[in-house]
Symmetry: C2
Subunit: 281 residues, 2 copies
C-alpha cells in the first residue's frame, strides 16, 4: 500500500513510523509545510520524500491527514476534489463534527474515513514521533455508514495491524466523549500550570518538591497551543459544558473544605475513587 501522510507532526510522524516498522507501506511520502519539520522527518527516515500535496496524493492508495483540526476540513475537501475511486482518505484529528459536516455532501464522501486514534503525548513535531505509538489504544471511526465499506475495512485492518481496537461512533457522540476524556484534561493541566507558576515565584521550590503527584497531573500543560486551540474552538460547546460542570464541582469541594465538612469531602473523594473501576476494567 502506497501511503501519503499530510502533516508530519507527532501524530502523522508516529503513524508513518509505525507503518514502516510493521512493513505496512510499500512507499511512504509526506507533505509538510514547515521546512524544519520536513527536514527532521527526512533525517529521521519517517518518510522517503517530501512532496507538494498534489504530487504526494496522486499516486497514493491511502492519504492520511494529520494536520491541526482547523485545517483538516478544507484540506479534506481539496483532496476529495482530486481523489480517484480506488483511493482512500483518512483524517486523524481530535474533533469530528465540523469535518463530517463540511464533507457530508461531497460527491467523493465515500472515499473518506473519519478516524481518531486515541493516542498522543504532550510533545509535538516529528522529533517527538515514536514508533511504538497507537498500539494498545482505541481508534474511533465516525460516520462509518457514509464511507465505502471496503475503504472502512481496509482502514480498520490497518489500525488493527498497529495493535489498536476499533470503535464506532457518530461525530456528535465522539466530540462529546472527547471533551470529557481528552480535551478537559488538557485544560485542567494548563490551568494547574498557570496557577502554580503565578503563585510560586520560587521556581526552584516547584521543581524540588515535585514527586507528590504534580508531575503527572501537569504533564499535558506542555502541549502545544497550535494543536489545542483549534480543538478547543471546534469543540467549544461541549468543552464549555464540561468546564462549567468541573468549576461547579470544584466550588462544592471548596465550600466543603471551608465549612470543615469532612463528611461532604469524604463523599466527593469516595465518588472520585470510582474511576478505579472504569480505568481498570
Amino acid at each position: 500500500m502506497k501511503v501519503a501522510v499530510v502533516g508530519l507532526g507527532l501524530i502523522g510522524g508516529s503513524f508513518a513510523l509505525a507503518l514502516k516498522a510493521r512493513g505496512l507501506a510499500t512507499t511512504l511520502v509526506g507533505v509538510e509545510a514547515n521546512a524544519q519539520n520536513a527536514a527532521v522527518a527526512l533525517q529521521r527516515g519517517i518518510v522517503e520524500s517530501i512532496l507538494p500535496l498534489s504530487e504526494a496524493i496522486a499516486d497514493a492508495d491511502l492519504i492520511a491527514l494529520a494536520v491541526p483540526v482547523d485545517v483538516i476540513p478544507q484540506m479534506a475537501v481539496k483532496i476529495l476534489n482530486r481523489v480517484a475511486p480506488h483511493q482512500i482518505v483518512i483524517d486523524m484529528g481530535s474533533t469530528k463534527e465540523e469535518l463530517c459536516e463540511i464533507i457530508s455532501l461531497h460527491p467523493s464522501r465515500a472515499r473518506f474515513v473519519a478516524t481518531h486514534p486515541m493516542w498522543g503525548t504532550e510533545f509535538s513535531g516529528p522529533q517527538a514521533a515514536t514508533v511504538d505509538s497507537f498500539s494498545g489504544r482505541s481508534v474511533v471511526i465516525c460516520e462509518k455508514e457514509r464511507s465505502d465499506a471496503a475503504a472502512v475495512a481496509t482502514v480498520e485492518e490497518l489500525y488493527r495491524a498497529l495493535g489498536m481496537s476499533v470503535l464506532e461512533m457518530n461525530a456528535e457522540q465522539h466530540d462529546l466523549h472527547a471533551a470529557y476524556v481528552s480535551h478537559i484534561s488538557h485544560i485542567t493541566s494548563f490551568i494547574l500550570s498557570t496557577t502554580v507558576l503565578e503563585k510560586e515565584r520560587e521556581e526552584e521550590a516547584i521543581f524540588n518538591l515535585a514527586g507528590g503527584g504534580f508531575d503527572s497531573t501537569v504533564r499535558l500543560a506542555k502541549s502545544s497551543a497550535k494543536t489545542w486551540i483549534p480543538i478547543f474552538m471546534q469543540n467549544k460547546y461541549n468543552i464549555l459544558d464540561v468546564l462549567r460542570e468541573y468549576i461547579h464541582q470544584l466550588n462544592l469541594f471548596r465550600k466543603a473544605l471551608e465549612r470543615d465538612d469532612t463528611e461532604a469531602l469524604n463523599d466527593i473523594i469516595t465518588r472520585a475513587n470510582d474511576i478505579r473501576k472504569v480505568l481498570q476494567k
Copy 2:
C-alpha cells in the same frame, strides 16, 4: 540501626522495604492497628514483627511515624514522652505546621526530626508498598534548628542512602509549597473524576476513549480519603488560597473560549507551557 515503623501503609511499608533492601536496618519492627494491614506486612516481609507501640519503640534507635497526618501530632507527643536521649523520632507526613507547633515546647523536641519524603502513589496500604520508592526524589526537613544536630545528620544520611536529596524549609513554607505541588493536584484529579463520572454515564466510553491524556491527569483520583482528608484539613488555608486562584484562572479560560478570544487562549497556553522549564531543569 534498629528501626520501628509506626503505620505500615504505602509510605511506612515502602520505607521499611527500602531500608531492608539496602541493609540499613539491623532489625525492623512495625506498629499497625489494622489487623489486615499487619498480616499483609508480615506476609510480604516488610517487617520482622508487629508489636504494640510501647514495645516497638522501647528498643529502637529510629522510630518512623507514617500514620495519617491527623494522628501524627498526638502520636509524636506520646512517643516523645517515652523517648530516651539516644533515640531519634521522625515523621513522614505531608503537612508540618500543626505537628511542629504541637511538639514545639516538648522537653524532648530535639529528638524529633520532622521530614516529608516527596514520594507517593495513588495506591495505599502495605500491599502497595514498593522497594524502589523514594530514590531520586527530594525529602524536606523542617525546623532543623529545633532538632539535635547529630539526630539530623543521622536522618539526612539515611535518606541520602535511599537516593534522596535533602532540602530544608520551615514548616510554614513547607505547607505552602506542598499545597501547590502536591495537594492541589489531588483535588484537581478528584474533581476531574467526579465531573466525568457525573456526566459520562456510559462508562464504557470513558474507558475505551482513554489514551488522550485522561489517564495520567485523573490518576491521583484513586487516592484514599483516609490519607487525604486529614491533609486537606490541616493545610486548609493554603489549599483554599490555591483553589480560589485555580478556579479564577479556569474562569478566565472559560470566558476566553466563550468569546472566541484565541489570542487570550494562546496567552494562557503559552504561559502554561513554561512549566517545561521548571520540570526539566
